[in-house]
C-alpha cells in the first residue's frame, strides 16, 4: 500500500519536470511503470556480485572523515568506495549524463539520484549494525555517514562531467548544487519508509531528491534551504532504529 502511494508521489513529482524537459506529454501510468522499472537498475547493481577495488587499508582513517561524517563514516566510506557496485553506478551515471543532449541537461539530476538509490537498497543492513553499535545515536551516525558518502560521489560525478565538457559552464555550475541537494535529501530520508525498507525508502528519497534537486538547479541559493530542511529532519531521526526486527539474524553487508 505504502509502495503504491510513494511510487505515485514520485510519478506526480516527475511528470511536469519530464514533460517540460522533453516537450511532450507523458501518461502517468507509463511514467509510473518506467520509474519503478528504472529503480531496478540500481537494485541490480547493488546486489550483483561485482567484487571490490583494492583500496588500501586504513583508508578514510583521517580524523576529518569522522568529524564530517560521524564515527560510523570511516567504516561506511571504506566499504562503499571499495565496492565495484559504487564505481559502476558512478560510471553509468557519468556516461548517462554525458549522452544527454545539452538542452536536456536537466535530466542529469534524475540520473544523479541513481547514486543514492543504489545505496538505499542496502541501508537496511547498515541499520542493524548502527543499532547494535550505537544504540542511542546510531540513526544520526548512519545518516551522516551516508550523506558524506553520497556527497563525495555526487562531487565525483560533477567533476567527471566537468572534465568531459559535455555541458556549458553555466549548465555545469547549475548541476553542482542540484547534485548535492539530491545527496543530502536522499541520505536524510534513508530511514524513512519503515526504517529503510528497500523500495519504500527508495521511492520516498526519490520524491524528495527530485524536488530538492530541481529547486537547487533553478537557483543555487535553495541549497541553504535544503540544508536547513535536512538538519530539521535529521534531528527527528533519533528513535528510528528502535524497531527490533532483524536484530536476530546474521548479516554480511554486500
Amino acid at each position: 500500500m505504502l509502495s503504491v502511494i510513494y511510487s505515485w508521489t514520485v510519478t506526480l513529482a516527475l511528470q511536469p519536470i519530464l514533460e517540460r524537459a522533453l516537450k511532450t506529454e507523458i501518461s502517468s501510468e507509463f511514467l509510473w511503470a518506467a520509474t519503478c522499472s528504472l529503480l531496478l537498475i540500481p537494485a541490480f547493481i547493488e546486489f550483483a556480485p561485482l567484487g571490490q577495488l583494492p583500496l588500501r587499508k586504513g583508508l578514510f582513517s583521517e580524523s576529518i572523515w569522522s568529524k564530517l561524517g560521524g564515527p560510523l563514516s570511516p567504516l561506511y566510506l571504506r566499504h562503499e568506495f571499495r565496492r565495484g557496485a559504487t564505481w559502476l553506478m558512478l560510471a553509468l551515471c557519468t556516461v548517462g549524463s554525458s549522452l544527454l543532449p545539452p538542452r536536456k541537461f536537466a535530466l542529469s539530476v534524475l540520473i544523479a539520484l541513481l547514486l543514492s538509490q543504489r545505496a538505499l537498497f542496502s541501508i537496511q543492513n547498515w541499520r542493524r549494525l548502527a543499532q547494535t553499535r550505537f544504540p542511542e545515536h546510531g540513526a544520526f551516525h548512519l545518516i551522516r555517514a551516508m550523506a558524506l558518502s553520497q556527497s563525495l560521489q555526487s562531487i565525483l560525478l560533477w567533476l567527471a562531467l566537468g572534465l568531459a565538457q559535455v555541458y556549458s559552464q553555466e549548465q555545469w555550475l547549475a548541476l553542482g548544487p542540484a547534485f548535492l541537494a539530491c545527496a543530502w535529501i536522499s541520505s536524510t530520508l534513508c530511514l524513512e519508509g519503515d526504517s529503510g525498507r528497500p523500495y519504500l525508502v527508495n521511492l520516498i528519497a526519490l520524491s524528495g531528491g527530485i524536488i530538492a534537486g530541481y529547486a537547487c538547479m533553478a537557483h543555487w541559493g535553495f541549497l541553504a534551504l535544503v540544508a536547513v530542511i535536512c538538519r530539521s529532519l535529521y534531528k527527528g531521526m533519533g528513535e528510528r532504529l528502535k524497531a527490533v526486527e532483524n536484530l536476530d539474524e546474521d548479516a554480511l553487508i554486500p
Partner: protein, 238 residues
C-alpha cells in the same frame, strides 16, 4: 568495582511481551564487576536482557543505572551479538580500530598480538571480513571486544564456531577482563567453558533473576560440571 542496577525495570520486546521484571532495591539483583553467567532455556529472555543492556532495545518501563547514575549503553557497553553483522569489504584491523575508537597503531597491535596469535589469525588479518569463515569472524569479534575501552562487555553465544584452541584464548581473555574490573555478562550454551570463571550464575524464575548463591549449594565456579548440569535440569524441569 562497578555496579549495574535495575529500578522497576521491565524487560521485553514490548509491553505485551515482558519477560523480566527486575528491581535492585531490596534485592540482590544487580551486576557488579566480574563474570556473570546467564543460564536458562530458550525463550526466557537471556538475549533480550543482553540487548536491553546493550541499548538496542529500550526497557519497556523503569530504568537501568550504572553506579547509580544514568546508564548510557553506547559509551559503557560493548555488545558482542550472537549474530554476526559485518560489512564485507572491511579488514579485521579496520573493524577492530572502529571498536577501539583508536587507530590501528603500534600500541594497539602490540596489545592484541598475543590474542591474534592465540586465535591463529596472523595470516588472516590481510583478508576482508567477507572472506573469513564464521569462526574466524567470531574470533575478530573477540578481538574487537578486547580493544574496546568500555567498562562492560555483553557476550551472546560467543563460542559458536570457535575451535578448542580458540576457546582457551577466549577463556584467558575473560580472566584478563575480570581482573580489569569490567562487568561481563555471558549467555552461552557451552556453560562448562565459563563455569569455573564465573563470579555469579543467574537463573531465570518467575520473570526475575535468581542468583545461584541462593540455591545454597556452594559457588557455581567450584561446582563440578556434572553436578551443575544436574542442578540446572532440576531447576528448570516442569
Amino acid at each position: 568495582m562497578k555496579t549495574l542496577s535495575f529500578h522497576n525495570a521491565k524487560i521485553g520486546r514490548n509491553s505485551a511481551s515482558v519477560l523480566l521484571e527486575l528491581d535492585s532495591q531490596g534485592s540482590d539483583i544487580e551486576f557488579k564487576s566480574g563474570v556473570h553467567l546467564l543460564v536458562a532455556p530458550n525463550g526466557y529472555g537471556k538475549s533480550t536482557l543482553l540487548q536491553t543492556l546493550a541499548g538496542a532495545i529500550p526497557p519497556v518501563s523503569g530504568s537501568i543505572k550504572l553506579e547509580q547514575k544514568q546508564f548510557h549503553p553506547e559509551t559503557e557497553m560493548t555488545y558482542v551479538s550472537e549474530y554476526l553483522q559485518f560489512p564485507k569489504f572491511i579488514y579485521p584491523s579496520e573493524w577492530i580500530e572502529h571498536f577501539a575508537g583508536a587507530p590501528w597503531n603500534a600500541d594497539l597491535q602490540a596489545k592484541l598480538k598475543p590474542r591474534i596469535q592465540g586465535f591463529r589469525l596472523e595470516s588472516l588479518m590481510g583478508r576482508y571480513l567477507g572472506r573469513l569463515s564464521q569462526g574466524e569472524r567470531r574470533k575478530i569479534t573477540w578481538l574487537a571486544a578486547d580493544a574496546s575501552p568500555k567498562s562492560g562487555i555483553l557476550l551472546d553465544e560467543p563460542l559458536d564456531g570457535l575451535d578448542l584452541l580458540a576457546i582457551e584464548t577466549a577463556r584467558q581473555m575473560i580472566r584478563d577482563w575480570r581482573s580489569q574490573g569490567r562487568i561481563l555478562l555471558i549467555v552461552a550454551h557451552q556453560v562448562a567453558e565459563f563455569l569455573d570463571l564465573s563470579d555469579q550464575v543467574w537463573l531465570f524464575k518467575d520473570r526475575s533473576l535468581l542468583p545461584w548463591s541462593r540455591l545454597g549449594v556452594g559457588p557455581a565456579a567450584s561446582t563440578p560440571t556434572d553436578e551443575f548440569r544436574r542442578k540446572i535440569l532440576e531447576f528448570y524441569s516442569p
